[in-house]
Symmetry: C2
Subunit: 136 residues, 2 copies
């Protein structure tokens, strides 16, 4: 069961990733997603979250800022740290990517028969639960 689920999940994720082509590099899209989901954060926290060295995050954020997808400002309480958060444009771009993937996936779901869809629907909670446990 583990092996079958592993293969299917990996394959589905790969197919989904192929639908999510933006003009951004993988590290850029990943950083942008982190900033959106975890709210305004410091560059150091972002670097740690992305498991990347500080100089790399400087560069990634600079490019995202050039495109107007994030904003960066000095923290008034501690002027060493700089905070970063998404702009409406950044959020919109992520939304478009997600919607494109959902459209593609929905089309696949349409191709299933009613019984299959019902079984998948019944398992959605389980799959969700499986991935929600604290990530080890």
């Amino acid at each position: 069961m583990a092996a079958r689920l592993r293969v299917s999940a990996t394959r589905l994720a790969r197919l989904l990733r192929r639908q999510g082509d933006t003009g951004l590099s993988p590290s850029q899209i990943s950083a942008l997603t982190s900033v959106e989901t975890h709210g305004p954060m410091t560059l150091g926290a972002l670097a740690e979250h992305e498991r990347v060295a500080p100089p790399s995050i400087t560069n990634v954020v600079a490019k995202l800022e050039e495109r107007g997808l994030v904003v960066r400002w000095a923290d008034p309480a501690d002027r060493r740290v700089t905070q970063v958060s998404t702009t409406p444009a950044g959020a919109a771009l992520l939304g478009q990517v997600r919607e494109r993937k959902d459209v593609w996936l929905a089309a696949r779901l349409e191709a299933l028969d009613n019984d299959e869809r019902a079984r998948l629907a019944a398992a959605l909670d389980v799959i969700d639960h499986l991935t929600r446990v604290e990530q080890t």
Copy 2:
């Protein structure tokens, strides 16, 4: 439904990927997997399958060969082409990675209750079917 499945599948794939750490780069492990699953193949076919330029595959295969994970030989029928296939060591490495992921995932499945496991089991065929259709 599409959105929930997308999120869960993406997250599960990411968690699985984190368990699969080898000393190899992503392109190396991907190429090795392709060679294993599609049998002996020419370098050009491998490059096309990996959606990568021919010079890149030369480099990737050279590194895999250094580690003894694949072997490369000239095709006797057409001495321009070189075939590549996995060694027992290469297959063993892939097997270890898969097993490590399966062990991790099986432990998570153990944490589910019986009803959840039953619902997931009933959906396995569906998820499999979903990813088996010709990839667009």
